[in-house]
Amino acid sequence: MSDDLGLWSVLLAVIGGAIRVSTPFLFVSLGETITERSGRINLGLEGILVFGAMSAYGTAVLTNSPWAGVAVAALSGAAFGLLHGFVCRLPRVNDVAVGIALMLFGSGLAFFLGKPFIQPSAPPLPAIPLGFWSSLPQVRAALQVNVLFLAGAFLSLVLWWAFRNTKAGLIVRVVGDSADAARAMGYDVDRVRLYATATGGALAGIGGAYLSLSYPGSWNEGVSSGQGLMAVALVIFARWNPLACFGAALLFGGAGALGPALQSVGVSQGYYLYYAAPYVLTLALLIATSSPDRALAGAPGELSLSK
């Protein structure tokens, strides 16, 4: 029986990996969706992700509570988002460049302050064993679903609904589609973007908390492999739609799990190339979905990325 599992085990590992690996993608991309829907792009979410991972881990070590870690990661992420929002509201400051600076600053600060937390181990976030019905250990391992993954899935549904049906969602969309129209309606464009960037930062921070407290589940300087940036590309692929973000995050997670899954069944040829799979996938999707002549369908009108 276990011999028959050959290729199936790869598939199972990819599915399990997709669930495990996709959570940070999901949170960062939902956060970036909120920010970009308000008409600003924050490339610094990569730095916020790393800082979130560090602050969550450090807090969990000190307080012995992973949830306190998640809360601190969200708060620190919001603080970085506020910083981005404040700097970008100055006239003539480029939001893409500020994002790159924040990427550097956030990860630098995380490595600096996180040095003492590399050794100790923190309590992990709880997981729900959804594979209880199966007797196969591989299935059980694949379906150890973390609470944050479910929370992220629920959040994408809520955001999808909120963008359509709530006043706050509409205000964010108006600000992102036409700053002039929003001003004419009496909304403070900069303030809405500030809050949207801060919310996006908080979600990215939670994504970081997942990295250090669940999977891979430790804090070191290589904890993120560019998920924060890939999530920005993912948002474009998902057309700024929170529900599509969920699907795209699963896809990216699966691509990321391909390398380790193949290695576990003994495929060692081109090992490093499989690790590039998520990047190749992102790029291929971007090329396939972009067009030089028109703005992307569903793109917020004020976004510097699509202008």
């Binding site: 100055l90 924040l102 490595f111 790029l283």
Partner: protein
């Protein structure tokens, strides 16, 4: 007599200030371009000092160590210049596309591929004499970098793919390809602990520049910056590129080949970045290995932005950051600070300098009009024709 005076006044009238005033106006404009970044950098250092003081470390000691480790002695200077060399090339990879309005942040990939291409080319070229083979190695590197970053430009111009994101993705892909080749097909079987390609050989290694003790990458980097400056600011091609960067519609209406300009200048930037990899292989490491991805590409982004994408300004900024990075080891040992200290400082500098963009044109002191018009307006009232 009177007629002559009237004539000279007439010819001077259409708002053309005298030579001295022109120089003063030029100086006012230039001093703004120097004063604001310098003030921003000083602010960044001060903020970092406050950060250190909050950690219970002495900012004064840090400044002293940076001076000692980066600039204070001949050895330290040589070390800083050695680190500045790849930064020059990496910064050009950001600055050239930036003039066309593209933010390219994937120079690291071009550096790695350039180094790898040079090392790989050295093997079949081994039959040639060094003066012939070394330039060919450099060409292999140039080609790899030009294709890689040129692809970023092509994707932006003809497929509408954002250059910032595609360049970063391509840089991750480049590093994966390079790791695959260095650990696999191109691996030197004798390199056990540190997988590397076959060494390029003593004969193909570049010596130091005479009298400096720093490899030729530094000299070539400075020359590359000068070439880039002339190209950008003194040629029609550069003017066309800047125009395309300023207003794509206007450039297209003028009939400029915007797409080809974007591809050309990104390819040139990539070729420069690849030279950094070439010199790392041919002047420092002797083989291509994992140390090629040492982060020069990312520091280069910072250098380019601190220099405000001006190729001449890249030279001093690269020297400054090379010095700061060279003193990193000393700071770690003496002050028991983590190696990320330099990263925090760089991030702070980056943020403050970007925020200072908002200050340009805000100070009357730097206004060319103030200086050019000071005495001009009083004797010659503005002719109504120009209005």
């Amino acid at each position: 007599m009177v007629a002559e005076a009237a004539l000279s006044e007439l010819s001077a009238a259409p708002a053309r200030p005298s030579r001295g005033l022109q120089v003063r106006a030029w100086l006012a404009r230039r001093s703004e371009a120097v004063a604001i970044p310098v003030a921003a950098a000083v602010t960044g250092f001060l903020l970092f000092g406050i950060f250190l003081a909050a950690q219970g470390k002495s900012p004064v000691q840090l400044a002293e160590l940076v001076w000692r480790g980066g600039f204070g002695s001949a050895f330290a200077l040589g070390n800083s210049l050695q680190r500045a060399a790849p930064l020059l090339f990496a910064a050009l990879c950001v600055a050239l596309p930036a003039r066309l309005g593209l933010v390219v942040i994937g120079g690291e990939g071009a550096i790695v591929l350039g180094g790898l291409a040079a090392a790989a080319a050295a093997q079949p070229l081994a039959i040639l004499p060094a003066p012939l083979a070394i330039p060919l190695m450099a060409c292999a590197a140039l080609l790899a970098g030009a294709v890689w970053i040129g692809a970023v430009g092509w994707l932006q111009a003809y497929r509408g793919v954002n250059a910032t994101i595609s360049s970063l993705l391509l840089s991750y892909i480049a590093i994966a390809i390079a790791t695959h080749l260095i650990e696999g097909p191109l691996r030197d079987p004798t390199s056990l602990n540190k997988p590397s390609t076959l060494p390029v050989g003593e004969a193909f290694m570049l010596g130091p520049m005479p009298g400096l003790g720093v490899h030729w990458g530094l000299g070539c980097g400075v020359i590359a910056c000068l070439v880039a400056y002339v190209l950008m600011d003194r040629t029609t091609l550069g003017f066309a590129a800047r125009m395309a960067g300023g207003n794509v519609r206007a450039a297209q209406i003028q009939g400029l080949p915007v797409g080809r300009l974007i591809v050309g200048f990104t390819a040139l930037g990539g070729a420069f970045a690849a030279l950094a990899g070439f010199f790392e292989v041919a002047a420092v490491q002797g083989t291509a290995n994992g140390t090629l991805a040492a982060g020069y590409g990312y520091t280069g982004i910072l250098v380019a932005f601190l220099a405000r994408q001006n190729p001449i300004a890249i030279v001093p900024v690269a020297f400054l950051l090379g010095g700061i990075e060279a003193s990193s080891g000393l700071i770690q040992r003496r002050m028991q600070l983590p190696d990320a200290t330099v990263l925090v400082l760089e991030g702070l500098l980056f943020l403050v300098v970007l925020a200072s963009e908002t200050l340009y044109g805000r100070f009357k002191l730097f206004s060319p009009h103030l200086w050019a018009a000071k005495r001009e307006t009083a004797p010659t009232p503005t002719p109504s024709v120009t209005a």
